[in-house]
Symmetry: C2
Subunit: 214 residues, 2 copies
Amino acid sequence: MADAGARFHQLYETLRTRICLLDYPPGTQLSETVLAEEFGTSRTPLRRVLARLEDEGLLRSVHGVGTMVTDVDVHEMAQTYALRMELAQLAGMLDPVPVTPEVRAVLDALIARGDGLFAQPDPRHFAQLNLDYFRFGLSLTANQPLRDMSERLYIRTARIWLKSIPRMDLSDEIAVFRDEMAQTRRALAAGDTQAAALIRRAHISLSYARLSQT
Amino acid sequence: MADAGARFHQLYETLRTRICLLDYPPGTQLSETVLAEEFGTSRTPLRRVLARLEDEGLLRSVHGVGTMVTDVDVHEMAQTYALRMELAQLAGMLDPVPVTPEVRAVLDALIARGDGLFAQPDPRHFAQLNLDYFRFGLSLTANQPLRDMSERLYIRTARIWLKSIPRMDLSDEIAVFRDEMAQTRRALAAGDTQAAALIRRAHISLSYARLSQT
DNA sequence: ATCTGCCAAGATGTATACAACGCGCGGGAT
DNA sequence: ATCCCGCGCGTTGTATACATCTTGGCAGAT
């Protein structure tokens, strides 16, 4: 049978993806019982997953009431983006990894997906590509704590960003995103990880500015 | 009866303190059953606490083997300190809080404890004061995500630092610590939060240098 | 009609019995 | 003497029954 830890991880990522991709929008009430039935398990292991999601701030459980998907207020959003900017820059300074052809190949694959997305815009695919590109940026540093914390922060606010996409212009956002990837490719072609990090920082800042206009 | 969340939090802090203060040194094997009996509860709520400690990297549970207190290797230690230095500096730049007389009073109380510690050195009290002073430093920024992540990183390595204290000179370390607090007080007397953060960054760097010499 | 009190339903939190798993000891074959 | 198989014990993981809590609606008094 499959390893228990692997099963836990799969359950965790499944639920986290549903939250981040707005299958469960903020305010949605989840039922431990129905989720346990859906995944063919009992409440106990499921609660282990929900507990972790609650520790990460994505859920909130109240005794006798239910488990709700949390929302993020503008204040927390501003603080998180301010911190994410700094961490993005740090990713280019702390324990940078050498830019190998394999690294550039990964980025090229992401750019190709961006081209496909540009031809056929879709918010959900955009969100997925954005996450994958974010993780690629983290792969440029070998500092594991920095990677963990950055991803944690990203996950916490990604769904709010995705929720605001309809209010903005999807095609414009995709175009800006492709520009960022193209700039990053030029920086990595020169082997300049720090420049790539600064590009990322600038785009996080601009992204937040566009976000807060809505 | 006391709130369930409060009881959870108390259990969590109790166990975390025991781990950080080396009541449970790295490698110690914990038993869910005996811990549950000690706290007069069943395994279920206790496992909820252990799960969180495991997510934070302080414990590691293996099916059929046991739950062990984790150790931290030198590589992770270096990465964590490198990141902590940067975050300490950020605490003086992101969302700084005004330096009120109340803030200075809190620091004066910490300094007084430092004087008492100097007169009567004790590793355990030193560790506790160090944690409280660390949290005081975090109180100088209103950026909650930054505070959460910084504390998480600190907790993860504090016990390793404490474990190395016997190999260093306790009185010297306490003297250096008092110097840092005195410097910080001067910076805060001038209302310069950023200077206080830079002092903190410098001392984290020096502390790690002394630490890695052993 | 409105307000009040109570209860029933459904939610999460807890306790407990059982399953799955790994390690180590011990006996027997070689 | 040595190696190997097997089983027993303790551990964590899972399932389930029960306790506790909150909310909403209904019935009755005013």
